[in-house]
Structures are given as C-alpha cells and as structure tokens.
C-alpha cells in the first residue's frame, strides 16, 4: 500500500506539468494511518485501517520519492524530458522542513496522534466556523526527536493549535435492518457530521518533566 502512494506522486508529476508537489496534498485517505518514524532506523510503517485517522505520505520521504521516481518518469515519457527535470527541481525545493514533533490529543472523546502540518477529521465541533483558530488543551503526550513528555493525565500548559478547514459529513453509511420471515425491513442512510482541522503547531510543553533519550538508553 506504500507503493500506491508513490505511484500517485509519479502520476501527479507526469500528467500535470505545472502542479506543485506540496508536502500536504489534500487527497485524504481516512482509513489508513502512517506516521513519520523519528527513531534512527528508517522503516516504512505498514498502513493500517483505523477509523478517523488521516494519512498522508511522509514529509521526510517526499524529496526521496521525487528523486526515485523522477528517472522513471523521465524514461516513461521521453517526449517531455525537460518538463520532468524541471519537476524534479521544483519538488526538491518545495518540500519545507516540518517540525519533528508529535502529540497525542483528545478531541471529541477520541484520541489522535497529531503532527503539525497535517489535517485531521474529528467529530463536528459545534460553534466553530471555517478558518477559526482552535486551541486543543487535552494533550496527553508530546514527543520530539530526543524527549518525550508523558502527561499524567495531561501535559500541563501544552496546547495544540489548529485551524478549522471544513465542516462536512462523513461518507454515507446504509443502516439496513432486516428480520427474516417477518416482513420487516428498514433502510436508513446516515452521514455523521465531521470537521476537518489542520494542525498548525504544538506549544507549551517545555516546562514539564520529560523523559529523554539518554535516560532511556541508560536504563535499558
């Protein structure tokens, strides 16, 4: 399933010569979940089916993907080699550095692993409008490359800032109830309202007792 995301990238670059390959495309895959791996070994995590967790190709792999796929793209379309090389350069420059930090936040009764720059579908937040800035206060864990802040239960003063992007509905679910030999059938469609929020930053966790990599390495 990781290979399909790479082919998506190569298709984008080959068919649309003028599209900028941004690190956060708005193609949403609500049923799969991947995360960048901050530990030293670079393993591609398996995509899993979870509800309500967005998945986007890893930002760290965006330049690598474009480097790997660009020669394939150039070979497959010999009629536009200058366009392919131009896209490779654009892709290398376009991928900005994302902060390597993640947090576990509780929204709408559910917990999500959250990274700045990505979006997330949560239960409908009443009373918010599009382009509202939101501060999520229930931050249960914050992790950076070297330290982890484990909240008991909440990391005090930690805030996850987000912006409401869109308030829509989930995909339709058909609720079909049927009892055999009793002539009872009910057919109901259901669309759960949701809100898409984009995470802009994670702050406020610095003054919390943390667990650092060195202490873990010593204790193991």
């Amino acid at each position: 399933m990781a290979s399909t995301s790479y082919t998506l990238f190569s298709l984008c670059s080959s068919f649309n010569a003028h599209c900028k390959i941004s690190p956060t495309p708005s193609v949403s895959k609500p049923l799969a979940f991947t995360k960048p791996n901050f530990s030293s070994s670079f393993n591609l995590p398996q995509k899993l089916c979870f509800s309500s967790s967005p998945s986007l190709p890893q930002s760290a792999t965006v330049p690598k993907v474009s480097q790997i796929d660009a020669p394939a793209v150039a070979e497959s379309e010999p009629e536009s080699p200058p366009a392919a090389t131009q896209i490779v350069e654009v892709a290398k420059e376009e991928a900005p550095k994302r902060e390597e930090i993640f947090a576990v936040v509780m929204v709408g009764g559910r917990q999500y692993i959250v990274i700045p720059g990505r979006f997330l579908y949560v239960q409908r937040l009443k009373g918010t409008n599009v382009n509202d800035k939101i501060a999520l206060n229930k931050v249960l864990l914050v992790g950076t490359k070297t330290t982890t802040y484990i909240g008991k239960p909440v990391v005090t003063n930690a805030v996850v800032h987000a912006v409401v992007e869109e308030q829509g509905l989930n995909k339709k679910v058909i609720v079909f109830k049927y009892k055999k030999k009793k002539n009872y059938r009910r057919n109901i469609g259901h669309r759960q309202p949701n809100t898409r929020i984009r995470i802009t930053g994670i702050t406020g966790f610095e003054n919390y007792p943390a667990v650092t990599l060195d202490s873990i390495a010593k204790s193991s």
């Binding site: 791996n37 530990s39 979870f50 109830k177 667990v211």
Partner: protein
C-alpha cells in the same frame, strides 16, 4: 431501493448475483445485514488487535512486562492513553514506548518479579 441502486451495490459479487436483479437483491440484503453486524464487531476486533500489538511491544523490551501488568501500571500512574494510541506508539515511536514501559514498571510492584524466559536461539542452521 430501486434496481439501479441494488445493482450498484452488487458490484464485485460472484456469478449472477451481480447481474440479475432477483438474485442480486437477496445477496445485497445479506451484505447490508453483514455490514450492520460487522460495524459493531469491527470495534471489538480492532481493540483486540491493539491489545496484541501492545503486548508484543511490552514483551520486546529488555525487561519484559506482561500486557496486564503494563496497563495496571499505567492506570496507577493516571496515564489515560487509549489502546489505539498505545499500539501506534509501540510501533512507530519505540523510545517513547520504552519510557512508558519504564514508568509502568516503577508504578506497579508486581512487575519486578517477572521471570525472564531465556530467549530461544535458532540452532537449526549449525551443522
């Protein structure tokens, strides 16, 4: 539901069930009943999967901890991460997960008396 909608839902079915409306109607009704039931069982299956993953993660640390003891230690420390997030952390953030396992070991005294089984070494290749 009219015929068009039923045949649209019957895509991918085997044999005449995808083409002929009389057979497709039965199969589609069955499929919708299964999906109603399985939307509930999916939640159970997922939780069981997360528990298996967390258990594997705790046992893969150097100082092994059982899943039950691990969760008990976390609850004692008032860490309210749920199993879904714990399983994700155990897969993708090994150092954070190790920190959680250490916290649980400290919190729950029963963790110290764990018998560490000697790791089995594969002897089949030696000539």
């Amino acid at each position: 539901m009219n015929k068009k909608e039923i045949l649209k839902l019957a895509k991918g079915f085997r044999g005449r069930a995808k083409n002929c409306i009389r057979i497709a109607r039965e199969r589609v009704e069955k499929a919708l009943q299964y999906s109603y039931r399985d939307r509930r069982t999916k939640k159970r299956d997922m939780r069981s999967l997360w528990i298996q993953r967390i258990s594997a993660g705790t046992r893969s640390c150097d100082m092994q901890v059982h899943y039950g003891h691990f969760m008990h230690g976390l609850k004692k420390e008032n860490i309210q991460l749920n199993r879904k997030v714990l399983s994700e952390i155990s897969m993708h953030e090994p150092y954070s997960f190790k920190a959680l396992v250490d916290i649980s070991r400290e919190a729950f005294p029963g963790n110290r008396h764990i018998y560490h089984r000697p790791r089995k070494v594969d002897m089949s290749i030696t000539a």
